[in-house]
């Protein structure tokens, strides 16, 4: 028994490293790394080195124009007292609370409809996906037009059902819900992932449930949701990250050139604040520290999601 137990013990770091090094005796290992090389080189040059450089800059007062001077953790300390950091993070969090569930629900709904469509599915898939390839700048301009409080299509639609529409683009209370609604317009990518997941659910599961008398809701709750839970989980993480890195649409609509009177703190998202500090106020060191804080926040949120998600996500073939 003891020998069996020892043979199943996970290898230590040294053993792992030895096995990894031993792999290079095989020609296939070299071939594999040769194929991986373009990505690895790209990752090192365009991601790893800039991240390391940014970590260093976050400890300096670098302004691009002047030489960097080491300031220790001053930038991080300054962040604690900076009200705009709290404001921007709150804006992102609020946007995420509206946007993430909105996108997931609408995308799943559309995917379920398309999954049932017998003909013309390809056409509608294309139509629903088209907004995804619309440039964010165009989306922002459309947002300002559609959500205009006086003549916007959205409020005109609400008027038809006798609901007075808010001033979406000027009222601080409605700016983030409006942007989240606009974001729902671009659910095509998420929808395609859900559709692929729905198509991979074995039909015999539904047939068996139907024979057992399960209602449509039960089939959705007990078969569809568990079977597509990896896709839901993946989209949840991607959408959350997107919500915390929102930039182009909000910047164009509220902070772009010639829009001084559009600028509102209700739309000051964290990415925009980083940009302002780096390129308007020349505080590249502080902006780097802000970027690292965002990185840590996203990592923590993702880690929590993974931890919690593991209890709900069903992986086919998983032997847990």
């Amino acid at each position: 028994m003891a020998s069996v137990a020892s043979s199943t013990t996970a290898p230590g770091f040294r053993e792992k490293a030895r096995r990894w090094a031993a792999g290079f005796r095989e020609r296939e290992t070299w071939a594999a790394y040769a194929f991986l090389a373009p990505w690895l080189i790209g990752f090192v040059i365009f991601t790893a080195i800039p991240m390391g450089w940014s970590a260093w800059l976050s400890l300096t007062d670098y302004s691009v124009i002047q030489d960097a001077k080491y300031v220790g953790l001053d930038n991080y300390r300054f962040m604690l007292d900076d009200p705009k950091v709290r404001l921007a993070l709150t804006n992102n969090l609020t946007f995420a609370m509206f946007s993430v569930p909105g996108v997931l629900i609408v995308a799943l709904g559309l995917a379920m409809i398309l999954n049932r469509v017998k003909w013309g599915g390809g056409f509608f898939r294309t139509v629903f996906y088209l907004p995804n390839i619309t440039p964010p700048v165009a989306v922002a301009i459309l947002y300002l037009l559609l959500f205009n409080g006086s003549v916007g299509v959205v409020n005109r639609g609400l008027e038809l059902i006798h609901v007075p529409g808010p001033f979406w683009t000027t009222d601080p209370t409605w700016i983030k819900p409006g942007l989240a609604l606009m974001n729902v317009w671009s659910v095509g990518g998420t929808m395609v992932i859900f559709l692929a997941a729905l198509k991979s659910v074995p039909p015999h599961l539904y047939e068996a449930a139907a024979i057992d008398g399960a209602s449509a809701w039960r089939r959705f709750r007990d078969i569809t949701l568990p079977m597509i839970s990896p896709a839901i989980f993946f989209n949840l993480i991607i959408q959350t990250i997107y919500a915390f890195t929102l930039f182009a649409e909000a910047y164009t609509a509220f902070f772009g050139a010639g829009t001084k009177s559009n600028q509102t703190e209700a739309a000051l998202f964290y990415g925009i604040y980083i940009f302002q500090e780096a390129f308007v106020n020349f505080r590249m060191g502080y902006a780097s520290a802000l970027a690292w804080l965002l990185f840590v926040i996203i990592m923590v949120i993702t880690a929590v999601q993974v931890k919690v998600g593991n209890r709900f996500v069903f992986y086919e073939g998983d032997r847990r």
Partner: protein, 451 residues
């Protein structure tokens, strides 16, 4: 034909093509201008090809470069592009930037003082307007040469005034109580939505003018002390905001204003969507080009004592530190802002407008000598009293111009001021609280950036 002959034919054809291509390149090389600076290239950032006023002056300046080529890519000045160029040590020779940014860059050593340039090229700085020069002077040194002034005046829509039963003179910023009463008379709302604006105070953009009208400079003359929360600043913001509140608040006001075709034939004046508002001088040209039939009156923006004031600002030419051809840049600066260049460009616009039977609304520069020559030698009344009177006012108003002085924290000062006003407009803070916060932010930035 034998295969040998075929091969020879192909070879000859290829050789012929090579000769043609080589000859084309040689011709292109030969196209390089002759002159003492032939072979050099002046790299400009932020100017790009523009309208006839820009292009004609650019041609004049290029002619002064002694045969050097000019690289002038499309697009305006962008902090991001400029900072990237500085970081990459690929510095342009010349930048055309907002004068409000000059001190911020100068304080960080990104621009070179133009003292030597001014001396070597014998540039007569007395010909430039003092207010515009003060905007680009930091710690006693001049860091840029100013271009336009864009003086602000009030544009009154005569038709709307008549329709509302008010006189044009009632849009007088000298008497705040009377102006507010006029505003209320002229504005129109329908079911909570604005359908006509009475008087647009144009805040946050023109807030420095409202503060100045109430007797306070938002920045000290040396640019080191902010006065954003001075009681007079707070009173000015409270008043300007009240003009918007009369329309039902910022939401209805702004969302209505966002629907305008500002640069088109169906602009807010042509469509009678506004009574009056303060505006930069370029907008008279927009009206002349797109809706010359409108009836307007130009009025000076007056302070509370009754004297005219105008906020002037615009772009300027500066030489970055590390520029490879500062001598060429300096020649360009002198030529592009010289009275002769301005006059030639103004003449081209005048002729074009005359051909199209449209009013010529003048060109307003930071060069006093150029303005005088344009008005005296080029300008002719075109029989459109509205625009002719506007030109007379714009020519005379420049002398009452003021500007926000150069400040090492200029960019942050502007951000703090705009954020404060936008918080007031959004209804999240009172004018006093907003300006108190802005004062702290702006002063901290100035203190941090001064060397």
């Amino acid at each position: 034909m034998s295969s040998r002959w075929k091969r020879s034919g192909v070879l000859l054809t290829v050789a012929g093509l090579c000769v043609v291509i080589w000859a084309s390149f040689a011709a292109a090389q030969a196209d390089v201008k002759a002159g003492p600076n032939a072979g050099a290239t002046l790299k400009i950032m932020g100017f790009g090809p523009g309208d006839e006023i820009a292009n004609i002056r650019a041609s004049e300046a290029e002619a002064a470069l002694g045969g050097a080529a000019v690289s002038n890519p499309r697009g305006g000045f962008s902090d991001q592009t400029f900072l990237a160029a500085l970081a990459a040590k690929d510095v342009p020779d010349l930048v055309y930037m907002d004068r409000q940014k000059v001190a911020s860059y100068a304080a960080r050593g990104a621009l070179v003082p133009l003292g030597n340039c001014i001396k070597q090229q014998s540039i007569d700085t007395s010909q430039y307007r003092l207010a515009a020069l003060n905007e680009v002077r930091y710690k006693g040194q001049t860091y840029a040469i100013p271009e336009f002034t864009n003086p602000r005046t009030i544009i009154v829509n005569d038709k709307v005034a008549a329709d509302a039963g008010v006189t044009v003179a009632a849009f007088n910023t000298n008497d705040w109580a009377a102006l507010r009463a006029t505003n209320k008379k002229v504005l129109k709302t329908d079911g909570g939505k604005v359908t006509r604006i009475g008087f647009d105070p144009k805040i946050p953009e023109f807030f420095p003018m409202w503060a100045k009208a109430n007797g306070v400079n938002l920045l000290s003359a040396d640019g080191l002390k902010a006065h954003l929360n001075d009681p007079k600043s707070v009173a000015a913001l409270t008043y300007a905001y009240s003009l918007i509140q009369d329309h039902g608040g910022w939401g209805p006001f702004k969302s209505f204003r966002d629907t305008w075709d500002f640069f088109g034939a169906g602009n807010q004046v042509a469509k009678n969507q506004i009574g009056a508002w303060p505006m930069e001088s370029f907008y008279y040209n927009v009206l002349a080009q797109n809706s010359p039939q409108v009836n307007i009156t130009a009025l000076p923006f007056k302070n509370r004592k009754g004297g005219p004031i105008t906020l002037i600002t615009g772009n300027g030419w500066a030489i970055p530190k590390g520029a490879k051809n500062p001598g060429l840049a300096c020649r360009w600066i002198k030529a592009v802002t010289a009275p002769a260049s301005w006059v030639k460009a103004a003449k081209a616009r005048f002729d074009a407008q005359k051909r199209l039977n449209r009013p010529f609304t003048g060109v307003y520069t930071a060069n006093k000598a150029a303005d005088t020559k344009i008005y005296e030698d080029i300008y002719q009344k075109m029989g459109r009293a509205d625009f002719d009177n506007a030109v007379s006012l714009l020519v005379s108003i420049n002398r009452y111009g003021f500007t926000l002085p150069a400040s090492p924290g200029g960019a942050e000062f502007n951000t703090a001021m705009q954020d404060a006003i936008n918080r007031v407009l959004a209804g999240t803070q009172s004018p006093k609280a907003a300006l108190d916060q802005a004062q702290k932010e702006a002063q901290a930035a100035i203190d941090r950036n001064k060397r």
